[in-house]
């Protein structure tokens, strides 16, 4: 696989990762009334997962320069 193809493949994988992270059953794990770091668990999970996904996207996007 050349570099362009592997970059495309990584982005597709990230999209699929996102679809899994922001779906059942992961959401159900955090859909509880408890708190995580003092904030609602689901709110904390969504923003941490979202930030992590964006970080990975940035790493892939900026790679290969």
């Amino acid at each position: 696989m050349n570099e362009l193809e592997s970059k495309s493949a990584r982005f597709v994988a990230l999209c699929m990762l996102g679809m899994v992270l922001f779906n059942y059953p992961f959401l159900a794990l955090f859909n509880v009334t408890g708190s995580l770091f003092g904030v609602p668990a689901l709110y904390a999970y969504l923003f941490i997962a979202w930030a992590a996904l964006i970080t990975l996207m940035a790493l892939v996007a900026e790679s290969g320069h």
Binding site: F22, L27, A28, L42, E62
Partner: protein, 369 residues
């Protein structure tokens, strides 16, 4: 003091600044030194996705659904992960075929069918009209609320105003003038509406800063950080139910997934998104940075939505204040005049950005078909 005249003057001053930015950017473009040839301006212009619905409405939704509003902003991130493959391809096709609008693009995929292009245009124009009127309504409602300062009264309880005080009408007229001046001039696909894009990017910055300012004020000014705010909210049964909204106040998981898919489509195919992402793109390389900068923008404008919603519910427990106005009414209730004014300008930015690009997108469709 927040006098009516002051608010009107500052609003017109702000719209004047937009004209100035657009004019300057067009002049620079004519001189061959483009200001929009930057991945940062490109990323900010994409944030026209965040309209007055985002600015005022997200908090309103969060006040009943908890994080149920979030798929609308997370979904695009999933689609943007595919941009490196999909958007770059669309960009190449569009540049090759000198595509000037979404209708043009769809028609060209089906053998340059003028009928199909016309149909897409009609659907887009019909679809966008109520959307635009809701943006203008948000401007006039927020204006009506702000001039009552220090009282907090909902527009519905105030009654009718005269035409002279119909802010929506005046704003619509100014925006129409703006779009004619900067959004519709060039019909050649090789040219871009540089002034419009520069102004939209500036508006995106303003609405983000205004929203973050309220968020920081509510979270760290009224309360001592996220933990304190959420601890107060957790003590109320109504709000603690919103901590786990799925299968509850926000509907089931299927609802969440549908919203995600819908917003994935929206970020690609809303006429205004197609306009800024494809038609106004000046360099394919900008996609590289936009892939993560634009999602960062969306994340930033959403972090404080739930805290503001809870802050509002705690501040106005009797339900007399519409949750859609918390962004504005919370600073007003805390006697923060300048912050309230900044919020009004932020809301104005969110609404006008959508209206300008919406108008311009429809205009290029009409011109092309």
């Amino acid at each position: 003091m927040l006098h009516e005249t002051t608010i009107v003057l500052i609003s017109f001053l702000y719209l004047g600044v937009l004209f100035a930015i657009a004019y300057y950017a067009d002049e620079r473009a004519d001189a061959g030194r483009s200001v929009i040839a930057s991945p940062y301006v490109y990323s900010l212009s994409l944030a026209v996705y965040a309209t007055a619905w985002t600015f005022y409405g997200s908090v309103g939704r969060a006040a009943s659904d908890g994080v149920g509003f979030l798929p609308i902003y997370v979904g695009p991130t999933l689609m943007i992960a595919l941009w490196w493959v999909v958007l770059r391809k669309i960009l190449r096709i569009s540049k090759q075929n000198r595509i000037t609008s979404l209708a043009d693009f769809i028609a060209s995929r089906y053998g340059k069918s003028a009928l199909l292009g016309g149909l897409v245009t009609v659907i887009a124009v019909i679809g966008i009209l109520p959307y635009i009127s809701l943006q203008l309504k948000a401007v006039s409602s927020s204006f009506t609320i702000l001039v009552q300062y220090p009282e907090i009264a909902m527009p519905a309880t105030i009654g009718a105003t005269s035409i002279r005080q119909d802010t929506a009408l005046w704003v619509a007229l100014i925006l129409a003038a703006f779009t004619i001046a900067f959004g519709t001039r060039h019909l050649d696909a090789a040219e871009h509406h540089q002034g419009m894009v520069a102004a939209i990017a500036f508006e995106s910055l303003v609405k983000l800063l205004a929203f973050l300012a309220v968020g920081v004020f509510v979270t760290f000014g009224i309360y001592n950080g996220f933990g304190d705010l959420f601890a107060h909210a957790a003590a109320q049964p109504k709000m603690s139910a919103m901590f786990a909204p799925l299968e509850g106040v926000a509907g089931g998981y299927a609802n969440w997934v549908w919203l995600t898919i819908l917003s994935m489509m929206a970020i690609m195919f809303l006429p205004r998104q197609f306009q800024v992402a494809v038609i106004e793109n000046v360099d394919e390389k900008h996609v590289n940075k936009a892939i993560w900068l634009f999602p960062v923008y969306m994340l930033a404008i959403n972090v404080f939505v739930l805290p503001i919603a809870f802050g509002g519910l705690l501040r106005f427990p009797d339900g007399s204040v519409d949750a859609d106005t918390f962004v504005l009414t919370l600073p007003m209730a805390e006697k923060q005049e300048l912050l309230a004014l900044l919020v009004f300008i932020g809301g104005l930015s969110a609404a006008t950005g959508m209206v300008i690009v919406g108008f311009a997108g429809c205009d290029s469709m009409n011109a092309a078909t």
